[in-house]
């Protein structure tokens, strides 16, 4: 459990974080998204107290880190795994030694270290590179060693700062599966910083958007995707690029969960031909979510369209102009 309230961090005059309130419940994955420079990494660094907050309070597993003595702080930090944005590997240590380092320092027995290092290397697909030095690894390989090291102490809280950016889709999938497993099987509380909305959709329970040091929107992922017009929901389920409309009226449709997959055929009976111009329909966290831009006969009554689709479980909204759709899809 991570509880942040009123967190502010300033470098000189510039406030990099400004009154952050955020709670990540036990055994949940929270995603923090937001533009480059928003303060995401700073937030993570405040949580494990690598940066001292200027004001505000942070408790992790009920402990206020800032109030702890040196020794207590060290013990508390061992419970918080950190994956750094730029892997920060030790240049003079091999991949395996880098992963072993935190365990060595914690006094884990040598045999146990060997076992865990092997296990972690395998998990991140780096078994073949165990004895390579960072200079002999590719960017993504370094990143994966950093992930393994962050998990080495079997933390109960994990801070993952863009762990998967720069990883290929397969490796990303493997890491995300690993994180989900940690949450589900071991109840690890995870804060994921990411720019990849698929990552948020596929593993996060909670999502918060940071901008200029403030949280501008947050909520359960299930709730946020249902919101019809919040910037975060649009970012989470971006509308694929829409081709030209050739005379049809454009509508945005949105649904989540209990909707029959044959809704399109059914709607077609009432509304005539439906041109599917852009669509993203997928499974997310056990339910189906959809977001489409469709073209309908412009002569149809707006009310009727909304009602027919509402009966089927979809939220429908006419698109005011093509420009708007494009802008939205770029957001």
């Amino acid at each position: 459990m991570i509880e942040i309230s009123g967190l502010t961090k300033a470098y000189g005059d510039t406030r990099v974080l400004d009154g952050i309130d955020l709670t990540v419940a036990d055994g949940q994955i929270a995603a923090v998204v937001g533009p480059s420079g928003a303060g995401k990494s700073t937030l993570a660094r405040c949580i494990n107290l690598l940066e001292r907050p200027t004001s505000g309070s942070i408790t992790v597993s009920g402990q206020d880190l800032a109030a702890l003595s040196g020794k207590q702080l060290r013990l508390a930090r061992r419970e918080i795994g950190t994956v750094f944005q730029s892997a920060n590997l030790l240049r003079r240590l091999t991949a395996a030694q880098n992963i072993a380092l935190p365990m060595r320092h914690q006094g884990v027995p040598e045999a146990e270290i060997r076992r865990r290092v092997g296990d972690l290397l395998e998990r991140v697909g780096m078994l073949q590179r165990a004895n390579h030095y960072p200079s002999q690894l590719s960017g993504g390989q370094r990143q994966r060693v950093g992930i393994a090291r962050g998990l080495a102490l079997q933390p109960s809280v994990l801070l993952s700062d863009e762990a998967t950016s720069g990883l290929d889709p397969d490796a990303t999938r493997a890491i995300l599966d690993l994180l989900t497993e940690l949450r589900d099987d071991l109840g690890v509380t995870i804060l994921v910083i990411t720019h990849e909305m698929d990552v948020v959709r596929s593993i996060a329970d909670h999502v918060a958007q940071l901008d200029h040091g403030r949280i501008v929107e947050q909520g359960a992922v299930a709730d946020v995707v249902r919101r019809s017009d919040s910037p975060l929901s649009r970012a989470l389920l971006p509308m694929p690029t829409v081709p030209a409309a050739d005379g049809r009226r454009l509508w945005t449709l949105r649904y989540r969960g209990a909707v029959s997959p044959v809704w399109l055929s059914h709607a077609g009976r009432d509304l005539g031909d439906i041109a599917v111009l852009a669509a993203l329909v997928e499974e997310s966290g056990d339910t189906s979510v959809g977001r489409l831009t469709v073209g309908l006969d412009p002569r149809l009554d707006e009310r009727r369209v909304v009602d027919v689709l509402a009966d089927l479980g979809l939220a429908a909204e006419p698109v005011t102009s093509l420009r708007a759709v494009r802008a939205e899809s770029a957001a």
């Binding site: 930090r77 950190t82 920060n88 590997l89 240049r91 380092l101 320092h105 914690q106 002999q136």
Partner: protein, 223 residues
């Protein structure tokens, strides 16, 4: 012009070999003290500085001041200044033992700065790795700072060993002997050209060998 009074070549060995032994003994002993004390002192100076793990102005200023003392005085003056200490510890102010203390003081102060400089090059981010995973300060210093700075430290050590060979030539003035002193005393002051040439050759070979091994080690440690 080769002096007529030079030691005959066959006899040069009799002077050279013991002197070489003395130099090795002195430098090895002094270097162990230098590493043991100078390393930690340098780490302390760096880590109490504003860039270090535990900035502490008062401690930093005072130990930095102390380390500077060891490098402030001409070595001969330093030797004189520490006579009371030497006398207390070894009961004598002359000979090999008497050279150990002033050489160690100068060497420790020098190596402290070299250590500080090497450790300063370790990027802050990798220290954060240790902090974030709850390592204690000593573990971070040993397992991360020293480890990452290893090539720089070895290069510093190489510099230091060679400086100590130089100092041992001055320490010869109080009877510590050694090859540098043999060069100064018999070669330079007594114009014994054979001894001079032999000493210079040995000194050059020794320094080359040390520097060469140091460089090799540094490269082997750099990944």
């Amino acid at each position: 012009m080769i002096s007529l009074l030079s030691t005959p070549w066959p006899d040069v060995d009799d002077l050279l070999l013991p002197a070489l032994g003395e130099t090795v003994r002195t430098v090895v002993l002094v270097m162990s003290i230098v590493v043991l004390l100078g390393g930690p002192l340098g780490l302390l100076i760096f880590n109490t500085s504003p860039l270090g793990l535990r900035p502490h102005r008062a401690v930093n200023v005072s130990i930095s001041w102390i380390a500077n003392l060891g490098r402030s005085l001409p070595f001969l003056v330093l030797m004189a200044a520490v006579i009371p200490v030497t006398k207390l510890v070894f009961g004598t102010t002359i000979g090999f033992k008497a050279a150990l203390i002033p050489m160690s003081i100068a060497g420790v102060a020098f190596f402290a700065r070299l250590t500080e400089n090497a450790v300063r090059e370790v990027p802050r981010e990798v220290l954060d790795v240790g902090l974030a995973s709850g390592s204690n300060r000593w573990q971070i210093v040993r397992g991360i700072q020293l480890r990452e700075a290893l090539p720089g430290l070895v290069a510093g050590l190489t510099l230091n060993v060679i400086a100590m060979i130089e100092y041992s030539a001055i320490a010869g003035a109080i009877g510590a002997g050694g090859i540098g002193y043999l060069a100064v005393n018999n070669g330079y002051r007594r114009f014994d050209d054979h001894v001079m040439i032999a000493c210079i050759v040995v000194l050059i070979a020794m320094v080359q060998a040390i520097q060469f091994s140091g460089d090799r080690l540094v490269r082997a440690l750099t990944h």
